[in-house]
Amino acid sequence: MDDDLPTDFQVIVVGTGMVESIVAAACSRIGKNVLHLDSSDHYGGLWASYNFDGLQKFIKEVNENPKRQVQVYNLAEKWYIEKELPQEENKEGEEKAEDAKPEPPKKLWSQTNFASEYRKFNIDMTPKLLFSRGPLVELLISSNIARYAEFRCVTRVLTWLNDRLMPVPCSRADVFATEAVGIVEKRQLMKMLTSIVGYNEEEMQNEFKDWNEKSFKEYLTHKGLTPNLIHYVLFAIAGGTNNMPCLEGVKECKKFLMSLGRYGNTPFLWPMYGSGELPQCFCRLCAVFGGVYCLNRPIDKVETKTIDEGKTVVTIESKSKTLNCDHLVIGINECPKDLISPEPAEGCDISKAVFITNGTIMKSEKEPLTLLRFPPITDDDNAVTVLEVGPATGSCPKGLFVVYFITNKVKDAESDLLPIAEKIFDMSGGDQSAESEKPKCLWSLFYNVKDTSAPVDSMNDSVHVCSGPDAGLDFDRAVEQAEQIFKKICPGEEFLPRAPDPEEIVFEDDVTHGPEFQREHEEEAEGDAPK
């Protein structure tokens, strides 16, 4: 089959992470001849979503062959349920169902159940949300790639306040409905939020000219907000910490508020079947415009050659075949060390955890989709982002929820995140059918990921290195970087112009039209309703 693969391309992209995939789509869209490779058998790299089986393979690979996954370490998987359900208990459950009770008893889970329903899981390595008016949503719309994806609205934003979970009143409707804040606080909160949205550049300069050196918290305090309101604005809306700089806080708030009211009651969208779907949408567009795809295709060697007229050709050895291109776009985790210059500075690594639970962290009428922003417990800690997704998002079977934790690493993933998990889950194992306030944790996975999100320069102008995922909530940095790389490869070209819908496409075979359709009798035509 290898023989079918042409050897010369304008652009070769290695790695199917978010940045790589956007660049591939953008190049292909304007007519570049693109080859897109990935060393593994699935799309997404560190941005991938796995079903439960795929995830088990990934875990196994990290544990047995750490060199294949150098970015991931401290990985610890733990079960809180039995391998098999005891037979009697199963029966008991059935008997209960036969009782005239209208509610079926809670399903009991075993490790075997997980394995047999493995396809219903889509677990993200890099779970991220989209701001409804953020750059990725705008790009998906303007490029018409949105038609390849489906989204669900995040239904609520929660925070941890006074030792319990609290919904954050973030939209006008929320502020109106909430009973958690007093009437005067409502006015204060709305006033703060509307003024932040309303400031133009000049008013911003004016209002904040003395706040450059100060923290957002000081500003909110100065404005007379009550401690509760400061908590909502600082930790939940701006996603900050006690020492978040004032201007950054304002910027984050504005970003949050600008995205309200477009699709749902919160500013966020979650991709159906997981964040890992998004790189694939871009890959699909790339393919539609002629991009060639090869998974399971590791590269062995990269060389750059300067030929006459100062032109550089990049040569790649892969499975004993030589591929040539004008530009190589390569993900940081696929990239040979010698191409990177200089070695990127060690950033702060990321602590992550995934939990599978038997219920939501806070009951609600309809299945919730939750962003929980957990404020730092002490001043030395970091804020923790928690995302809880349920069966309606295609992330897990009915009756379960998948919960992601993300924070900047302090010690290691488990030490950083377990204390918080214990606040919202029942981690004791034990009887799943027991009624409890907190959902039971059935399975957990802790791991650290190297932060490879800093932009990296390469040794050569024809080689472009794409960063890995960051710890942030959204994809904005990936979109920004992809556009920068595209602009370097194709200066002056439009970045992902709108792709046509099928009915707007004429096939070249159709160009010779038959004679114009003539109406034979006026009578026949009248049946056509004007549209």
């Binding site: 006008r172 409905a177 006015r187 709305m190 496409i505 004429v506 035509a525 009248e526």
Partner: protein, 528 residues
């Protein structure tokens, strides 16, 4: 190569669209022509139904076509094609539903639906209610749907509590919704009337609604829908019709009410006795309106210097009120009732208003220039105790005039109204027959003028009155001396005929030309 994509250029696309448009137009014109022809030829058949249906499904706003369809269906019914009628009606509902998808605000389509349901004898109202739910989910502010919902509800009488909760849900989605607040107000009085106290709304719910509306108002004070509802709630008090004042002269008797009443009300509830003889005559309104606040009785009874004159009034609570008169001068008798402009809230509601006033004051301390907070504070003050809080109310209205210049006229009118209410309570205990503005603010309108219908001297000098108020002076049926000195009158053309002795028009500079003519015309002294 095979099947390579080539995107249509915009020019090509534009030309193609224009061509399509022309095609459509042709088809449309042809169909309309055919419809008109068939109608002319009285061919009311299924064919015409098909034709109009096709045009309507893309242009649901052509009323004429809906009318034609109703004509056809009526003819079908008349011709006793009853077997197929239910199907025809179903098809009609289907068509309107299709049309409403194209334009959810199509008057014609909603109306047609209403017609079908009231015409057929097997309407499915539950289905209609679900349709409303669906459309209000798509657009919670579509007043066509709310309107239609009220129609459906009036037919199928669902649980009022469910309807009430439905408005709650919609308001929690988005409280900027006049239709939902309005519907809520209608259900509220039907669902929770205060049967014991005779008030429109039960205390506990009145309080609860005030709370909700305050939450909305504090969330977004610039959204007026909540304020409208709040004003409605504050106005939802028990009001009874009362006689204010009556005047008996040898020529006529006038009687003023606090509310507008109609002829038969006056005729049946009011009796005037002179020396225990019932005074007979015909009541009429001085403005010739069906409802009025002032009614006149022309009578033949001889009124002398020493008569005993009284009035009997059948009150709303079933009791009879007797008001005796006192002699004003030689043969003019005046009977005044006790008056009050206080709003009679129940104790719990007053408590709630007082709590809310406190919250408003707190907020005002933080943002003293917020117009909505200040206005609400002011309205609360007035509602809780108008007399006690009068000074503060007036001060606030002056502040409002400066921070909300665009509505200065509105605040002026409020100043006028509330100041006159304040003055009236004093004027009614004095025995003067003179009406003179006793407060500093210049009045812009003449509210409650019927309360002064007994006055012989009316001094409206040095005010900000314009010619627009002149027609309302007809109320001053017993006025002899009228001063409009130093006002802003521009014309006298709408000054009503009054039996004046003297009118003072000085200081209305723009009247100069007109006054000369006016002097010649009238039989009383004109000072200018």
């Amino acid at each position: 190569m095979h099947g390579r994509v080539k995107v249509r250029t915009t020019e090509e696309e534009k030309a193609r669209k224009e061509k399509e448009r022309q095609e459509k137009l042709k088809v449309f014109e042809h169909a309309m022509q055919k419809i008109q022809q068939k109608r002319k030829d009285a061919e009311y058949d299924k064919d015409l139904l098909d034709l109009t249906g096709k045009v309507l499904s893309s242009n649901p706003d052509i009323y004429t076509l809906w009318n034609i369809r109703r004509e056809i269906l009526k003819i079908f019914k008349k011709n006793n094609e009853t077997e197929e009628l239910p199907q025809q009606y179903d098809a009609e509902l289907h068509l309107t539903e299709y049309c409403l998808k194209t334009n959810p605000k199509s008057y014609g389509a909603w109306h047609q639906r209403e017609w079908v349901l009231t015409t057929r004898n097997d309407p499915d109202w539950q289905k209609e209610l679900s349709l409303c739910n669906m459309y209000l989910k798509l657009d919670e502010r579509n007043f066509h749907t709310w309107d239609y919902r009220r129609f459906v509800v009036s037919k199928c009488n669902p649980s009022l509590k469910d309807e009430f909760d439905f408005t709650t849900d919609k308001l929690y989605d988005n409280f900027s919704n006049y239709s939902a607040w309005h519907y809520r107000s209608k259900i509220l009085v039907a669902l929770y009337p205060d049967l014991e106290g005779g008030r429109p709304i039960e205390d506990i719910h009145h309080k609860q609604e005030l709370k909700i509306v305050q939450s909305a108002a504090f969330t977004d004070p610039d959204d007026t829908s909540a304020w409208f509802y709040q004003r409605w709630l504050l106005g939802a008090v028990k009001t009874t019709t009362k006689v204010v004042v009556y005047v008996v002269t040898p020529v006529k008797i006038t009687i003023a009410f606090n509310k507008y009443v109609e002829h038969k009300y006056v005729g049946s509830k009011i009796r005037i006795f002179c020396n225990n003889n019932l005074v007979k005559g015909e009541w009429f309104s001085c403005t010739k309106n069906q409802f009025d606040v002032l009614w006149i009785l022309k009578h033949d009874t001889v009124i002398t210097e020493n008569d005993v004159i009284k009035m009997e009034y059948d009150m709303e609570d079933g009791n009879i009120q007797t008001i005796l008169s006192v002699k004003l001068n030689t043969n003019t008798y005046v009977g005044k009732n006790e008056i009050s402009f206080e709003r009679k809230y129940s104790k719990p509601v007053v408590e709630e208003l007082t709590t809310q006033l406190l919250a408003c004051r707190q907020l005002l301390a933080m943002e003293p220039d917020n117009k909505w907070t200040l206005l609400t504070t002011t309205v609360f003050l007035h509602c809780i105790d108008a007399k006690q809080n009068h000074k503060e109310v007036i001060k606030n209205l002056h502040t409002l005039k400066t921070i909300d210049k665009l509505r200065a006229g509105y605040y002026d009118d409020l100043l006028t109204k509330w100041s006159i209410e304040d003055q009236l309570s004093m004027d009614y205990v004095n025995d003067s027959d003179c009406f003179k503005i006793m407060f500093k603010d210049k009045i812009t309108s003449l509210p409650h003028l019927q309360y002064y219908s007994y006055c012989e001297t009316v001094d409206l000098s040095n005010q900000n009155l314009t010619s627009n108020i002149l027609p309302s002076l007809i109320i001053l049926q017993h006025c002899k001396k009228l001063s409009l000195e130093n006002n802003k009158l521009k014309t006298l053309s709408n000054l009503p005929n009054l039996n004046l002795e003297v009118i003072n028009l000085k200081g209305n500079t723009e009247l100069a030309q007109e006054v000369e003519l006016f002097k010649k015309k009238c039989n009383y002294t004109v000072i200018y």
